[in-house]
């Protein structure tokens, strides 16, 4: 039994995918902690990667002065801790994303407000 309890004790996880309007994606921009943590949003896994770049990320991050300076060709992408090269027309699912996956991106040369990771 994976919990110390007086009787049998087993529950379904509270946050399974069918309870959300779409699977959850967490997005984090490394070295930019003006956004203090990764952000959560429901996003269909059929969403093409290009749409993530062009529509999702600007909504979340365009307030940061570094955002307009991003050279998208140089960005490094991570699924969880794993580096991958996205195909712009490919969907999130095709890149191995599922419910509650983390998408992180790193923008070499841009290290936050005055290089502070802020």
């Amino acid at each position: 039994m994976s919990v110390t309890a007086i009787g049998s004790y087993s529950f379904r996880p509270r946050d399974t995918v069918e309870k959300f309007p779409a699977p959850l994606l967490y997005v984090g921009w490394d070295e930019h902690m003006m956004f203090p943590s990764a952000l959560a949003l429901p996003l269909p896994l059929e969403t093409p990667f290009q749409q993530v770049i062009q529509q999702v990320l600007p909504k979340l991050y365009s307030q940061h002065p570094d955002f307009a300076r991003i050279d998208w060709a140089k960005v490094q992408w991570f699924r969880g801790g794993t580096l991958f090269t996205p195909k712009l027309q490919g969907t999130l699912a095709e890149h191995g994303f599922k419910h509650k996956s983390v998408l992180r991106f790193r923008t070499p040369g841009l290290e936050g407000l005055r290089g502070s990771c802020g």
Partner: protein, 520 residues
């Protein structure tokens, strides 16, 4: 005629024995295991309950006497404070936000503690420990009441204090203290004692009370100071119970040691994470500062904690697994937390602000290793944006740790450039954590933590709208609907301090000066 002989009055010691141990009996109609079903399943072995040394020999009648004397003094001060408009005598209205955090996030824990100890006061089969827990249950209820009364005067004049119970059950950041305590009191009685009496009350409580109470003293808040004094003698009893209970478990059976060690690891870390809110309060919310979080950590955790765990080493107990990471975090957590609340305070029932230049200088001096390099630039950026009429608010909802439920803003130990990400799979589901230690807590009891009520996920699941909310309406604004569900008065309770009704009223009333003078 016989003269009636007056019975000799019992001494305190005998009376204590009669009122506690004398009232215990072993049941015969029903087996003891059925009457006390909770105190064996955790695996803690107790061979001789009579070895329990009562940490304080207080009988109920003596208890009433002490407490009523303290209450008389406390309520006299609270009355005088109200009559003299003491709320206008605090340094400035930003300070009030520390009180909001207290009434929202700390006071409800007193009530939870009362419930937890009342439960223990029934369910241990040892009479001595039952009595100690019953008395602590009454203490905690008293703290809940006196804190509510002490702060109620502020509630007449300032926003963000009118609905703490509803907020505690629903508001996103308050799920941090709520889940902490629900984890403790849904555990068995021995784990509860280790969590609350030992790890929190004994090891960490000074870090909660001293900053709030000396912060109150420094900032002219006499009513909170007096509450603090009134609670202090109770707190020292609670600390005694904490150390006694841990030693009792360890002395009873060597098999108890690894169980207790696992709880110490868990609850030190959970308590430390909870104190992140206090760290931020101390470094950012007190206009007149007492000491930095880092200094408080060094004084109350590092030095006394080292001594404590040296003392416990003879039982085979080592320092909590998260100890070194917690000590490393002293340079960072207050800044990381304030940064998160600065950005997310549109959805919080208290205000945040960018510190003034002199405050930034103070922080730079107190945190030579971290502040100038990592934290000052973003706070200066916020101030500049605000001056340009673009006060920064974060536009998204944060990823939360499955265990501590804090937004995942903590950085890797020793590497403040990188957010710490941890994840694990359990029965096909992915779970995320802020640290190795929160991950370990989950992995030890996944069936408990897969149920975490994570506020961000609840919002996306549509569980944080009022019943009459209509997401199909084109004018539906989900963020505003959630605040409505939180019963937060938008534009009053939340967002930036500068220009808030609290700020404007305090200035209009002439606050921050001598209250007598302000009335003239």
């Amino acid at each position: 005629m016989d003269t009636r002989v007056k019975a000799k009055k019992l001494g305190l010691r005998e009376r204590y024995a009669a009122m506690t141990r004398g009232l215990h009996w072993d049941t015969t109609y029903q087996p003891m295991d059925k009457v006390f079903p909770y105190d064996t399943y955790e695996g803690i072995k107790i061979h001789d309950w009579s070895k329990w040394e009562d940490p304080f020999r207080l009988t109920m009648d003596a208890y009433w006497k002490y407490q009523s004397e303290k209450e008389k003094k406390l309520y006299a001060v609270i009355d005088a404070f109200a009559q003299n408009n003491g709320q206008l005598g605090v340094t400035d209205a930003r300070y009030i936000n520390a009180l909001k955090l207290f009434i929202q996030g700390v006071t409800p824990l007193e009530y939870y503690a009362s419930r937890g100890f009342a439960h223990l006061g029934r369910h241990f089969r040892g009479d001595g420990v039952r009595v100690a827990c019953q008395l602590q249950a009454v203490d905690e209820l008293r703290h809940f009441q006196t804190e509510t009364h002490a702060i109620s005067n502020y509630n007449k004049f300032f926003n963000g204090m009118h609905n703490p119970s509803h907020w505690f059950d629903n508001m996103w950041y308050l799920s941090v203290p709520k889940s902490f305590f629900e984890d403790a009191y849904s555990a068995g009685p021995f784990e509860f004692l280790t969590a609350v009496s030992f790890s929190f009350e004994y090891v960490l409580t000074n870090l909660l009370f001293v900053p709030f109470m000396s912060g109150a003293a420094h900032n002219g808040d006499l009513s909170t100071v007096t509450f603090g004094f009134s609670a202090q003698s109770d707190e020292s009893r609670h600390m005694t119970l904490g150390i006694e209970s841990i030693k009792f478990m360890l002395e009873q059976d060597p098999d108890n040691v690894p169980i207790v060690q696992r709880w110490v690891d868990k609850w030190f870390w959970r308590g430390y994470r909870l104190l992140t809110l206090v760290a931020m309060m101390q470094d950012y919310m007190l206009p007149k500062r007492v000491m930095s979080w880092k200094e408080a950590w060094e004084m109350y955790a590092e030095s006394s904690g080292e001594a404590l765990f040296k003392d416990l080493a003879r039982y085979g107990i080592r320092k909590p697994a998260g100890w070194d990471d917690a000590c490393e975090g002293k340079n960072h957590i207050s800044h990381q937390s304030w940064n998160a609340f600065y950005g997310f305070c549109g959805a919080a029932a208290f205000h945040t602000w960018a510190p003034s230049t002199s405050e930034l200088d103070w922080l730079t001096q107190k945190y030579p290793e971290s502040f100038k390099k990592y934290y000052r630039p973003r706070l200066e950026h916020y101030a500049a944006e605000e001056a340009a009429g673009r006060r920064y608010y974060n536009q998204g909802l944060p990823q939360l740790c499955q265990t501590c439920q804090i937004p995942m803003f903590f950085t890797e130990p020793g590497q403040p450039r990188w957010i710490a990400y941890r994840e694990t799979e359990h029965e096909g589901e992915t779970f995320h954590f802020c640290s190795d230690h929160c991950q370990t807590i989950f992995e030890n009891e996944p069936d408990k933590f897969v149920q975490s009520w994570l506020p961000v996920h609840q919002i996306f699941q549509g569980n944080c709208f009022k019943p009459d909310a209509n997401p199909a309406d084109p004018a539906f604004n989900p963020a505003s609907a959630v605040l409505d569900y939180y019963q937060l008065n938008q534009g009053q309770d939340n967002a930036e301090f500068k220009g808030s009704p609290d700020d404007q009223n305090f200035q209009r009333w002439g606050g921050g000066q001598d209250p007598q003078e302000a009335q003239l």
